[in-house]
């Protein structure tokens, strides 16, 4: 008996879905959504960022349903996101108004306002901590209580002071006249989720797409840029900030066209989001005459939802690359970069190769046979 063209697909699908559920539950343990939300901060931040949907609770459910696969969790979040009406755009968020949790500069030893290391894996040794195998909730609660006890300095308040818009490291370079600034564009951004991207893309569209890009894809392209396929000189992180920014939605009946004080006065506070914002200084060579060239700095900017530092830095590098736009480098070709970093698009098209293709394959076979005369 040969292969029979598949019928009964409905039952087979049902069985496969059941099997998937079994694989999630077979060990008799349930991951509590609250535990995911509490203990998987990094994954939740990654999923929210790639999904471009800031909702920790929904991200936690998605991670549970996806058995921890970021690709699948982002997919669930995106599909949910596309059913939500998009009624408002917030006023511009200025990352200088951030309630800072972490703020570092690699360009200067001291920066105005000081370096705040905050919570980071950067200073840990990556040794698996076997103590965590048997960590108990009692111990954890006790540790937290001790950590926050008044005897220690006021840790609960650490870094929750607004910076009060201090000078940033970037302002210093700017004051020295070494920074080539890009023109400020405070126009209404084109929402890439409401209008299909057309080329050439605006900077706002690029930054949106990079911000929702797959962490690994954005990181890989940013890495390629600084290894020689893009940025030619070594860039430096001018400033990296992680913290909470307040989101305001303008009064829909307001006639104000701009994000000015009046608009803010009439706006509604809708909550706050944690973001990572990065300004990178990229040295570029500028010709000043027939045989004279000077070094100047260009700014790369990246801002992403959640604490996603590697991704945010990579976004800032690619921002500078795409502004430069020399197509001999793939990382400076906006069609190459912007059309290939989206998780849902890339994983979807790759995985569609698993679908049957026998009609198109048959057609190709016909052509091949015709060519060979068989």
């Amino acid at each position: 008996m040969g292969y029979i063209a598949v019928r009964g697909g409905a039952e087979a699908i049902e069985a496969s879905i059941e099997r998937l559920k079994y694989m999630r539950l077979r060990k008799g343990r349930i991951l509590e959504v609250a535990a995911i939300e509490a203990g998987m901060r990094a994954l939740i931040d990654q999923v929210m960022s790639e999904a471009s949907l800031y909702d920790e609770a929904m991200a936690a459910v998605s991670i549970k349903q996806a058995e921890g696969s970021p690709e699948e969790a982002v997919f669930l979040m995106r599909a949910f996101r596309s059913t939500l009406p998009r009624s408002h755009y917030s006023l511009t968020l200025d990352s200088r108004d951030m309630r800072v949790e972490r703020r570092i500069s690699a360009s200067f030893k001291e920066i105005p306002g000081g370096q705040i290391l905050g919570a980071s894996c950067d200073y840990t040794h990556r040794l698996i901590d076997s103590v965590l195998i048997d960590e108990s909730e009692e111990e954890a609660s006790q540790w937290v209580a001790d950590y926050l006890s008044p005897a220690e300095d006021d840790r609960s308040a650490v870094a929750h002071e607004a910076l009060g818009a201090p000078l940033s490291a970037i302002d210093y370079v700017r004051a020295l006249g070494l920074l080539r600034d890009r023109p400020i564009d405070d126009g209404e951004p084109r929402d890439v989720t409401k209008r299909a991207l057309e080329f050439p893309a605006s900077r706002s569209e690029r930054l949106q797409i990079l911000a929702r890009g797959q962490t690994g894809a954005v990181t890989a392209l940013g890495y390629a840029a600084i290894r020689g396929y893009g940025a030619t000189l070594h860039p430096t992180v001018g400033e990296l900030r992680v913290g909470l920014v307040s989101v305001y939605v303008p009064d829909p009946f307001s006639t104000s066209q701009h994000d000015d004080a009046e608009a803010l006065g009439n706006a509604y506070y809708v909550g706050e989001v944690r973001i990572t914002a990065v300004e990178t200084l990229v040295p570029v060579s500028v010709r000043r005459g027939p045989d004279k060239s000077e070094i100047e700095f260009e700014l790369g900017f990246g801002a992403v939802l959640g604490q996603n530092e590697t991704k945010a830095i990579a976004v800032s590098l690619l921002d500078q690359c795409l502004e430069t736009g020399e197509k001999r480098y793939a990382t400076q070709d906006e069609e190459f970069v912007l059309l290939h970093v989206d998780s849902v698009e890339a994983t979807g098209f790759i995985s569609h190769l698993k679908l049957p293709h026998y009609v198109s394959f048959q057609s190709k076979l016909d052509s091949v046979r015709k060519a060979r005369g068989t």
């Binding site: 009964g8 997919f75 596309s82 059913t83 299909a196 057309e198 009609v359 198109s360 052509s367 015709k370």
Partner: protein
């Protein structure tokens, strides 16, 4: 929870209107790829999200939907899409081409002739017929605007030079209403002639590439070819369906132990032919 989370036909009404606006523009400019704000769907990009968005934006409570994948109603992805549409709308589904008001299909146009009032929604992986000639979207948009299609013809010409004939497989490009060159989606060449003067409205959706385009009813559609190398469909000579005995329809080649055997690709058509033969047989008093 799910019931409360999602609207009729999944999308919020604002999103449906946006997609319908793109569809209207596509119908007004036959063969032109209209960019649209393609949403993420509960099925993966590349698995028919363009077609699905069209279907969900159009579907009403009285519609009857048929979904086929590579000609088959019961192919896994067809079943999955059908479940999603009926699951979020509660509308009836069918396998009978004639009963359906909306037919979503991947890589086939059904064998049964479509009629006025029906809508065929084709899923499209690569909407740009010039993509393999020119990788840049910016550049291909200009080529279309200027009706500069020598690259497309040159690609066919090169195939003739190399292989002695045009060796495109599925997705052989067509010209719509003497204006836009269009990718018909990877339907076999056998299905290309069905696009010409179709009585049904044909909508093509590419979710990942964010394009919708259309062949309105009775539009003129011609497959790209040369006078001395006319367009040819796949060879059907000597092929007969081993199940229903049909000839002259697109066949799947079934890999069997000894020789190649053939079977109707369109499973619904195969069933219909079988039923008709059974009825005729019964009518003759042949069956007990």
């Amino acid at each position: 929870m799910r019931k409360k989370l999602y609207n009729f036909a999944f999308f919020d009404e604002g999103s449906k209107r946006e997609v319908r606006r793109a569809i209207l523009k596509a119908v007004a400019i036959p063969g032109y790829q209209v960019p649209f704000a393609s949403r993420e769907m509960p099925i993966a990009r590349g698995w028919g999200t363009g077609g699905l968005q069209i279907t969900l934006s159009l579907v009403g409570r009285d519609d009857v939907i048929k979904v086929i994948d590579q000609g088959a109603d019961e192919s896994v992805n067809a079943v999955s899409i059908k479940r999603l549409v009926s699951g979020t709308t509660g509308i009836a589904t069918t396998e009978d081409t004639r009963e359906a008001t909306i037919i979503q299909s991947r890589h086939r146009i059904p064998e049964a002739p479509l009629v006025e009032g029906q809508i065929l929604v084709l899923q499209v992986p690569t909407p740009e017929p010039l993509r393999f000639v020119e990788p840049s979207e910016y550049a291909t948009k200009r080529l279309h605007a200027e009706k500069e299609y020598s690259g497309a013809y040159l690609a066919l010409f090169e195939e003739i030079m190399k292989h002695g004939h045009v060796s495109t497989g599925a997705d052989h490009p067509v010209t719509v209403e003497d204006r836009y060159v269009m990718a018909p989606s990877p339907i076999p060449r056998f299905d290309n002639p069905k696009l010409n003067g179709s009585r049904a409205l044909i909508l093509l959706g590419a979710g990942r590439e964010k394009k919708i385009y259309a062949v309105p009813p009775f539009a003129k559609v011609a497959s790209l070819d040369f006078e001395d190398h006319p367009f040819e469909v796949e060879s059907l000579v000597g092929k007969r369906c081993r199940v229903c005995g049909a000839t002259g329809v697109y066949m799947d080649e079934i890999v069997d132990a000894a020789a190649a055997v053939y079977q109707c690709n369109d499973t619904s058509h195969c069933d219909a032919v079988l039923k008709a033969r059974r009825a005729a047989f019964d009518g003759e008093g042949g069956a007990a």
